[in-house]
C-alpha cells in the first residue's frame, strides 16, 4: 500500500498546528510528553524527506503501550480529567505518526480541535482562549492544505483561506453563544482546578492573617449596582468564630443546636430565626452587588451584613453569612443584596448567649479578666463597656504592625500588657476576650475589609492582603454590632487600607514592596487596571453568561424568552449572516478581469494612442489598429500587420493552440513593434 503523503505545502502547517494544540498540556504535564512529541515530529520529518521508512506496526504499537504506561505511571490512572487529557494528547501525537492514509490526516486534524478544547478545562482566561483560537486557525489552515491537492499551491494561501472562513464563522459563533439555550448539566462533572491557594482557614490563631497580608492574590471582586458603600463600611464577613481555647478561635454552634437549623437554603420550612428575620420585612435601602468569588476550596462566601441571595446556589446562616452548597472550586458569581438595617432583627437565645460568653480555662488571661471586671463595675450599660475598651486601646501604647513579636504561653495577657504590638487578629481576639470577660456577648469575625476600586469598571477588587478580623458584640436593642479595635489603634487601616496604614513602618517595607496595587505606579498601575478590567468583564460577560443572565438578556431583547421566540431569532440571525456572506462570496465581480489577450491588445492600443497624441477611433479591430500604425509609421507597417494577424489567429483559430509559447511570441512581436514607434 502506498503511504499517504501530506502535500508538501501543508506539512509545515500541520506540524505547527500539532505542536500548538499540544502546548498547553506539554507545559502542565510530565516531561516525557514533550519528548514523545519531539520524537514523533522528528520521525515524521525524516519520513517526509525519504530519509527513513515509516515505523512499522510493531514500533507504533509499542509506542502506544508506552504512552499508556507512562500516563499510568505519572498520574496513577488513565481516566479522570488530568490523566485523560494527558493520554489524549499522547494519542494525538501518535496518530500524527500513524498518518498512512488521507483519512488519518483528517482524523488528526479533527482530533486536534478536540485537544484544543481540553486546554480550556483547566485554564479559562482570555489569553488561553485566544491561544486556543490560534491553534484552531492553524488546524483549519492544515485542513485547507490537505484538501488542496494541486502540487503547486502556495502554503500562504491556506492560512488566508482559513482566516477568511474563521472571520466569517466568528459572528455566527457569537449569535449561537448568545442565543442557544443553556441546558442544565446532563450529569454532574465538577472539576477541581486543584490549585492550592492562600486564603482564609476556618480557625484563626495569632499570626494567621498577617501571613495572608503578604499575598496580593485576588480574593474576590464585587461589582455594585448603584452606589458603593463608604470605605469604612466595606466589611466582607466570611466566618464568625465563637469558641476560644486561649490561643485559637474556632467556629462553633450552641450546645444542643442542630446543624441543619443553623443554615437555611430557601427550601422547606424556615427555622425560627429566619422567620423572625422575615417578619421584619425588607428594608428599603440595601446594597446590591455581584460577588465574583475566586476558588477557595471552601464553602463560605464573603458578603456585607445582612446578605440576601438573589441569584446563585447558597444558604443563609444564622450568623448572617452566606454558605455555598459545595466548596467553591472555580470562579463563581453570586448576586447579593445586603441590608445593614436588618441587623437588629437577629435574635440571641439563651444557649447562644452562653456560647458567646464562654471563656477558656482560668489559666488564660487573668489580668485581662481583672481589667474587664473593673470595667463591668464602673459601667452602667454594655455600650459603656465597649467605649471604655476602645478607649483603652486608643490610649495605651498599642502599635499596629505586620511583624508582631511571638506570643508563647498566654497570648491574651502577653499581648495586652507586655508586647502591645500586633496585627488585626491580635486586637480582635483580645477585644472579644475582654468583652466576654465583662459579660458582653461577643464573637470574632474574619473576612476582608476594604478593597481597591478599579476606575474603569468601578468594581472593587479585594485581595488577600485585605484580610481582616474584627469583633461583633451583642447589644440589647441593636443586635450584633460591629466593633473594630484595629480601627482604634490604626484608623488608616480601615479608611485607606493596609498599604497606607503601614507606609511609615520600616519593618513592613519589604513586604509592602512585593504587593500589587493599582496605586503602585502611573503607567504600570494603569495597565494593571486594564488587565483587571478585561479579566473582570471576561468573567461577567463570557464565563458568567449562564442560564439566568441569558434569560434576563433575552427578556430584555425579545420581550419574552419563550422557546419559540428564541428559536425564531436564532434562525433569523443566522440566516441574515449567511445571506450576507452569500452575497459577498457570489457577487459578480464589478469589473470583469481582462484575459491575457485582451490585455495585450489594450497595451498596444494605449501605446499607439499615446504616441499619436490624440484619441483613436472607438471600436478598433486589431487590423484597423495595424492600419493606423502603417499610416503613421510606414516602417513599422509590416510588423504591425504581422502582429494583427497573429493576434487574430490566437483569438479565433481553435487549431492554433493559444498556449504560453504563443503568448510569449505575441509579446515579442509587441516589443519589436514598440521599438519602431517613435
Amino acid at each position: 500500500m502506498r503511504v499517504y503523503q501530506v502535500p508538501v505545502h501543508t506539512r509545515l502547517w500541520l506540524a505547527t498546528a500539532l505542536i500548538t494544540c499540544s502546548l498547553p498540556q506539554l507545559l502542565l504535564g510530565p516531561v516525557w510528553q514533550s519528548l514523545l512529541l519531539g520524537v514523533v515530529v522528528a520521525i515524521r520529518w525524516l519520513v517526509d524527506h525519504q530519509r527513513m521508512r515509516l515505523p512499522g506496526r510493531i514500533i507504533r504499537g509499542g509506542l502506544l503501550v508506552a504512552a499508556v504506561g507512562m500516563t499510568w505511571f505519572s498520574f496513577g490512572r488513565i481516566y479522570g480529567p488530568e490523566a485523560g487529557v494527558a493520554l489524549l494528547v499522547s494519542l494525538f501525537s501518535l496518530k500524527y505518526l500513524e498518518m498512512v492514509r488521507q483519512r488519518d490526516a483528517y482524523v488528526v486534524i479533527v482530533l486536534g480541535y478536540f485537544v484544543c478544547a481540553t486546554a480550556l478545562l483547566f485554564e479559562r482566561g482570555p489569553g488561553m482562549f485566544l491561544f486556543v483560537l490560534l491553534s484552531m486557525l492553524l488546524l483549519t489552515a492544515a485542513l485547507v492544505g490537505i484538501n488542496h491537492s494541486e502540487t503547486k499551491a502556495r502554503a500562504s494561501s491556506h492560512i488566508k483561506t482559513g482566516s477568511v472562513l474563521f472571520l466569517q464563522a466568528v459572528p455566527v459563533t457569537v449569535v449561537l453563544f448568545v442565543l442557544v439555550p443553556r441546558v442544565a448539566p446532563l450529569w454532574n462533572m465538577q472539576l477541581d482546578s486543584g490549585k492550592a491557594r492562600t486564603g482564609m482557614t476556618d480557625s484563626i490563631s495569632p499570626g494567621d492573617i498577617s501571613e495572608l497580608s503578604e499575598s496580593s492574590e485576588l480574593a474576590f471582586r464585587v461589582a455594585f449596582e448603584g452606589a458603593l458603600p463608604p470605605a469604612a463600611e466595606r466589611y466582607w464577613r466570611g466566618l464568625t468564630l465563637s469558641h476560644f481555647d486561649g490561643r485559637t478561635w474556632q467556629q462553633a454552634i450552641p450546645r444542643g443546636g442542630a446543624v441543619d437549623s443553623y443554615l437555611y437554603n430557601g427550601r422547606g420550612a424556615p427555622p425560627d430565626w429566619y422567620q423572625q428575620l422575615q417578619a421584619q420585612g425588607k428594608p428599603q435601602s440595601g446594597y446590591s452587588y455581584q460577588l465574583i468569588m475566586e476558588p477557595t476550596q471552601r464553602r463560605w462566601l464573603f458578603a456585607m451584613a445582612v446578605p440576601m441571595l438573589e441569584e446563585g446556589e447558597a444558604s443563609l446562616a444564622r450568623d448572617m453569612r452566606l454558605v455555598a452548597r459545595a466548596p467553591v472550586t472555580q470562579r463563581t458569581r453570586y448576586s447579593i443584596t445586603s441590608f445593614p438595617d436588618l441587623r437588629p432583627a437577629i435574635v440571641l437565645d439563651v444557649l447562644e448567649r452562653e456560647l458567646m460568653l464562654s471563656l477558656p480555662g482560668d489559666s488564660f488571661g487573668r489580668r485581662a479578666r481583672t481589667l474587664a471586671d473593673q470595667w463591668r463595675r464602673d459601667s452602667r450599660t454594655d455600650n459603656e463597656i465597649v467605649s471604655r475598651a476602645l478607649r483603652h486601646f486608643r490610649e495605651q501604647p498599642f502599635h499596629y504592625t505586620l511583624k508582631p513579636p511571638p506570643l508563647t504561653t498566654d497570648p491574651i495577657d502577653e499581648f495586652l500588657f507586655r508586647t502591645q504590638r500586633g496585627f488585626c487578629e491580635h486586637y480582635a481576639s483580645s477585644f472579644t476576650f475582654l468583652m466576654r470577660a465583662a459579660g458582653v456577648p461577643a464573637r470574632v469575625v474574619v473576612g476582608y475589609q476594604g478593597g481597591e476600586q478599579n476606575t474603569l469598571g468601578s468594581h472593587l477588587l479585594v485581595r488577600q492582603y485585605d484580610a481582616h478580623a474584627w469583633t461583633e458584640v451583642w447589644l440589647q436593642g441593636q443586635g450584633w454590632v460591629r466593633v473594630d479595635p484595629t480601627g482604634a489603634v490604626a484608623p488608616d487601616r480601615i479608611a485607606l487600607g493596609l498599604r497606607a496604614s503601614l507606609r511609615g513602618d520600616e519593618e513592613a517595607q519589604d513586604t509592602l514592596e512585593g504587593l500589587d496595587s493599582f496605586a503602585s505606579g502611573g503607567l504600570l498601575g494603569r495597565l494593571q487596571q486594564w488587565t483587571d478590567y478585561v479579566d473582570f468583564r471576561w468573567q461577567t460577560w463570557v464565563l458568567g453568561y449562564d442560564n439566568a443572565s441569558q434569560l434576563q438578556l433575552l427578556r430584555h431583547w425579545l420581550g419574552e424568552a419563550s422557546p419559540l421566540r428564541i428559536a425564531a431569532s436564532l434562525v433569523a440571525a443566522i440566516s441574515v449572516l449567511l445571506t450576507l456572506y452569500m452575497l459577498i462570496l457570489l457577487r459578480q465581480a464589478g469589473t470583469r478581469r481582462q484575459t491575457v489577450l485582451e490585455r495585450e491588445f489594450w497595451r498596444v492600443h494605449q501605446r499607439v494612442e499615446q504616441q499619436v497624441g490624440h484619441p483613436l477611433a472607438q471600436g478598433l479591430s486589431p487590423q484597423a489598429l495595424a492600419r493606423v500604425i502603417d499610416l503613421k509609421w510606414p516602417k513599422a507597417g509590416p510588423l504591425a500587420h504581422q502582429w494583427a494577424v497573429y493576434y487574430q489567429q490566437l483569438l479565433y483559430n481553435p487549431g492554433f493552440g493559444a498556449g504560453k509559447a504563443q503568448i510569449r511570441h505575441l509579446r515579442r512581436l509587441r516589443n519589436r513593434l514598440y521599438k519602431l514607434l517613435d
Binding site: 480541535y113 494541486e150 464563522a169 455566527v172
Partner: protein, 319 residues
C-alpha cells in the same frame, strides 16, 4: 450505494429531466448538489461532544468552541458551494476509436467569475481526474470513454465534484454534454475486396506498390496528405515540404461498395468495409466509398481515411 432498479430508473429519469443535454453548461444553484462527507459527520460528532462537555462542565469557553466548529461548518457550506458555482463546461474536441477500444472526449472548463480549485471530473467507470481553473483561463481535460459499439457514442453523464476548501462537504453536479465520440467499426478481415472499378480480376490483394502508379510530380504539402507520400528526401535537401503525386492506378479508381456485400448483417458489412479502407490506405491506393445515402469520392491520405471511417461510424445517419 445502489438504489433498487425501479427507484434508480426513476432517479435517472428525474436527473435527465432536470439536467438536459447541452453543449455548454454553467453550473448554478439548480444544478449543484451538496452534502456532508463522512469526515463532515465525524467533525460534527466532535462538535457535539464538545457541546455536551461544555454543558456538563458548565464551561462556556468549551461551548463557544463547539459553536465555532458548527459555524465553520455553516460557512464551509457556502465556500464549498461557491467553488463549483459559476464553473462553465463546454464541448471540446473528440478522438474517435475503433469500437471495442477506447476513444476520448475533450471537456473544456471555463470560469465565469472566479477561480475553481481542485475539481474532480469523471464519468461512470473511469478514474477521476483533477483540474483547477484559475486566473480566468480555460482548462481542458481529456476523458477516456469506452467504445462498446459502433456509432455515435454520446458522452456519459459527467460528474463534477469538489470538496475544497475543508473536505467536510462534497458538492457535485452532473453535466450531460451534448458531445459524442465516433466509434469506428471493428475491422473484420475478408479476402474479397468489395470494390468496383479498377481491375475486376485483381481481387487478390495487390501487394506493394505493384508499379502500377507512376510518379507524376510534386506539389506543395497541404495538411491531411499522407505522410508516406511526402518527399522526405527533398525535404532533407531543403526543398520544403512537398507531396509526391502519382498517376491514377492502372486499374482505375476503386469504389468500395456496400452493395457488394449482400446477404450479410449491417455491422459485418461495415466491419469488412472498414478493413478494406485500412488495407487500401496502407497500400496507398486511392479509393472511394459508397454507402446507402452517402458517397465519398476516391482520394487518399489521412484526412480521406478519417472521413471514410467516420462515414462508416455514422451509418446510417449522416450529417
Amino acid at each position: 450505494m445502489r438504489l433498487p432498479a425501479p427507484l434508480h430508473d426513476l432517479y435517472e429519469r428525474w436527473l435527465s429531466r432536470r439536467l438536459p443535454r447541452s453543449g455548454r453548461v454553467v453550473l448554478n444553484q439548480k444544478r449543484i448538489f451538496i452534502f456532508p462527507t463522512g469526515y463532515g459527520f465525524f467533525y460534527l460528532l466532535v462538535a457535539s461532544l464538545l457541546f455536551i462537555g461544555g454543558i456538563n462542565y458548565e464551561n462556556n469557553l468549551i461551548l463557544a468552541l463547539s459553536f465555532l466548529l458548527a459555524s465553520l461548518f455553516l460557512v464551509a457550506i457556502l465556500h464549498t458551494y461557491r467553488n463549483l458555482s459559476g464553473l462553465g463546461i463546454r464541448n471540446g474536441d473528440s478522438e474517435s476509436g475503433f469500437s471495442g477500444a477506447s476513444g476520448a472526449l475533450e471537456v473544456i472548463l471555463f470560469p465565469e467569475r472566479r477561480d475553481h480549485l481542485c475539481l474532480w471530473l469523471y464519468w461512470q467507470g473511469q478514474a477521476a481526474q483533477q483540474v483547477s481553473v484559475t486566473g480566468g483561463e480555460e482548462s481542458s481535460l481529456w476523458l477516456n470513454i469506452r467504445l462498446n459499439q459502433r456509432g455515435r457514442i454520446l458522452a456519459p453523464r459527467l460528474k463534477v465534484e469538489s470538496r475544497f476548501p475543508l473536505g467536510l462537504l462534497r458538492t457535485w453536479s452532473y453535466v450531460s454534454l451534448d458531445h459524442y465520440c465516433l466509434a469506428w467499426p471493428t475491422p473484420q478481415e475478408w479476402p474479397q475486396c468489395p470494390a468496383d472499378g479498377g481491375d475486376d480480376h485483381s481481387q487478390q490483394v495487390p501487394t506493394g506498390r505493384a508499379g502500377n502508379d507512376e510518379f507524376q510530380g510534386l506539389r506543395e504539402y497541404s495538411p491531411g496528405d499522407s505522410l508516406r507520400r511526402i518527399d522526405w528526401k527533398g525535404y532533407a535537401a531543403g526543398k520544403g515540404l512537398n507531396t509526391k503525386l502519382f498517376e491514377e492506378p492502372a486499374g482505375g479508381r476503386l469504389w468500395l461498395r456496400w452493395d457488394r456485400l449482400e446477404g450479410m448483417g449491417d455491422e459485418q458489412r461495415l466491419s469488412i468495409l472498414c478493413h478494406w479502407v485500412l488495407t487500401l490506405d496502407q497500400q496507398q491506393l486511392p479509393y472511394g466509398l459508397v454507402l446507402p445515402g452517402m458517397t465519398l469520392a476516391p482520394d487518399m491520405g489521412d484526412v480521406h481515411r478519417w472521413r471514410a471511417l467516420d462515414a462508416l461510424a455514422c451509418y446510417p445517419e449522416f450529417d
